[in-house]
Amino acid sequence: MRTGIAGFDGLLGGGLPRDRTTLVVGGPGCGKSLFALESLVNGARKFAEPGIFVAFEESGKHVIANSASFGWDLPRLMKKDLAFVDARLPHAVVHGGDFDLLGLLAIVDAKRKELGARRVVLDGVDILLGFLNDPIAERREMYRLSEWLSDQKLTSIITCKSDENGRLMAREGYMQFLSDCVVVLQHKVVGSLPLRLMRVTKCRGLAHVTGEVPFAITTSGLKVVSSGVTEAQPVSNQKVSSGIGRFDSMLSGGYFRGASVLISGSSGTAKSTLAGGFIEAAAARGEPCLYATFDESAGQVVRNMASVGIHLAKHLESGVLQIMSERKVEKSPVEHVARLMEMVERHKVRCLVVDPVSALTASGAGPITEELVVRLLDYARARGVTLLCTSLLTGAGDHLEETASGVSTMADTWIHVSYVVKNGERNRALTIVKSRGVGHSNQVRELVLSNEGVTLADVYSAGGDVLMGTMRWQKESEGRQARSLKKRDAERKGREAQLAVAETNAHIATLRHELAGREAAVLEFSADATKAAAEVQDRGADERRLRRGDAESPSARKRSS
C-alpha cells in the first residue's frame, strides 16, 4: 500500500504491506502521528482509498488543527474520504473483570462500511494499553484486533510510543511480533541541530532498505531523504553547457546531463560564478532550474551575478529559475536537503545548483551530513537532474586538493579552482581534476572575471612556469607588439613600393612628353627640308629667267638638288 509519503515507499519497494498491520514506534515528537495521518490523507487524496483515524491521545480537532499548516484541506476530505474517531479514554474508570475490544471494532467497522475505508490508523495505542492495564488480556485483544483488521481488508498503521532509541516498553514488546512491518522513528539532537531518522526494522515478505534514513518535516509533510525512485533514469549521453564557451570545449561539449559536478576551491575563487554561468545557460534553454544558496539572499545572488555579466533577473521573473536561499544555521542539514528535494519535485527541476554543499557538511551535525550529501547526489542522478555543487575548502593558496571524500568520489566531474599567488598577484586557476566518460583538457586555465562575463584565458608556460595575470598580459602584449611591429613594417614597405611605382609612372610620363616633343621636331625639320628644296628649285628657275638662259640644264638641276 503506497503511503505517498515522499521518499518512503521506495524504502519498502513500493509501500507498506497491504491488509496488514504496520507498527510505527518512536519517542515523543518524532513524527509518528504525522506519518500515520499523512498516509491516510494521501490515501484519500491520491489513491482513492478512504481512511479512518482513531485518536487515543488527542482529540480529532487537535489533530486537524495541528496539521493545518500542511495544506491538506482536511475539512474537505472529512466530508467523504476521511473519518476521525475521537477515542480518548475517560480518566475515572474502574477495572472490573475480563473485557474485550469489541466496542472499538464495532466503531471502526461502522465507519469502514460508511466510507468504504481501506486504511485505518490507531494513533497512540500505548494509551489504550496503559488504560487496560492487564498484560494478558491486552495482548490477546491486540492480536484479535490485528487479525480482524486484516480480515476486513484494512491496511492499518498503529503508532506506539517508545523510548528515545526506538525501544518499546518491555510490556509492549509483543507489538513488534504482532505487526508485519515495523518502522522506528527517532529524533535526536546532534551538535545543536535536530536530526530525524527512520528505520524499517522489519517487514515481512518485502525486501526493504534496512539502514537508518534521515527525514524531515517540511511544509507539505514528511520527506524522507532517499532517492525515492525504484528505477533510475537511463544514463544520458546528452551534454549540458557549462555556460562558458571555452570551458565547454575543455570538457568536449559540456557536462553530461544527469551528472554530478563538484566545483571545489577556497573562498572567493569564483565557484558561485561558475555555478551561475551554468544555471543561466540552463534557464536560457528554458529548462526549469533551481539555485540553492546557503551563503547569500536571492537578491544578492542576482546582483552579484549581474556584476560579472550573468543576468538571472529575467529568468527569475519568468519562473524558469528558482532561487532557494536558506540560512544554514536555522535548519538542520536534513531539513535543507528535504526542502531542496521538494522544490526539485514541485518545479520539475532539470538543473540544480547547491552553493555551497559544504554548508551542509560543515554544520557540525556529525558524520550523517556527508552521507546526506551522497544521498542528494544519488537522488539527483536517479532523477536525471544535472547537479552542480560547489564546495568550500578551508584555507587558501597552495591548499591540497582535498574535499569531502564522499562527494568527490561520487561526483562525475570535479573542477578545482585555486589561487596562484605570484609576483604580488593573486590569480584564479581552473583545472579539471576528473570528468568521467569525457575526454577533457589537462590544461590549467586562468579564470578571468569581468563585467562582460566569465572567460577562460590561455595560460602561458614559460621555462616550466605557468604565467597568469600581469605576467600573462605581458607575454600577450609582447606578442601583440611583435605582431604590430611586423605589420607596420610591411605597411611601410608597401607604401615605399607604391611610391616607387608612382615615381616610375611619372618618369614614363615625362619621357613620353619628351618623345612627343622630339617627334614633333622631326616632323618640323623634314617639312623645312622640303620647303628649302622647293625654294632652291624656284630660285634656279628665277635665275634662269633672269639670265634668259636655256631651258633647265641637267647640271643645274643636279646642283640644286
Binding site: 474502574v94 472490573g96 473483570g97 473485557f99 469489541l102
Partner: protein
C-alpha cells in the same frame, strides 16, 4: 440510572449482563433503571460515548458519574464503585 454497553453475545458481555442484574437485584431490588446497548448494533452510540472496551457500565445518576469496564465478576468492587456498599449492607 445505569447504562451497560455490550458487544452482541460475546462471553464477557453475556457474563456482564448476568453479573450486573444479579448484583442489582440483591443490592437495590427494583430501584434502578438499566439500559443495555449492543454496540454491534448501535456503533454510533459506542462512538458518542467513547466505548472502545466492552463490556462497559456507565453510572449516570445519582451522584458522581463513573465507568466500570469488564465482565463485572467482582461484585464487591462493582458495588463500591457504584457507591452502593451502604445499601447492600
Amino acid at each position: 440510572m445505569l447504562r451497560l454497553y455490550v458487544a452482541g453475545s460475546s462471553p464477557n458481555s453475556v457474563a456482564a449482563v448476568a453479573n450486573l442484574t444479579a448484583l442489582l437485584a440483591s443490592a437495590v431490588a427494583d430501584r434502578y433503571e438499566l439500559e443495555i446497548i449492543d454496540v454491534l448494533r448501535h456503533p454510533d452510540r459506542a462512538l458518542s460515548d467513547a466505548v472502545l472496551v466492552t463490556p462497559m457500565l456507565h453510572k449516570r445518576l445519582p451522584g458522581p458519574a463513573c465507568r466500570i469496564f469488564g465482565n463485572l465478576s467482582d461484585g464487591a468492587l462493582v458495588l463500591r464503585a457504584l457507591g452502593l456498599t451502604a445499601v447492600a449492607e
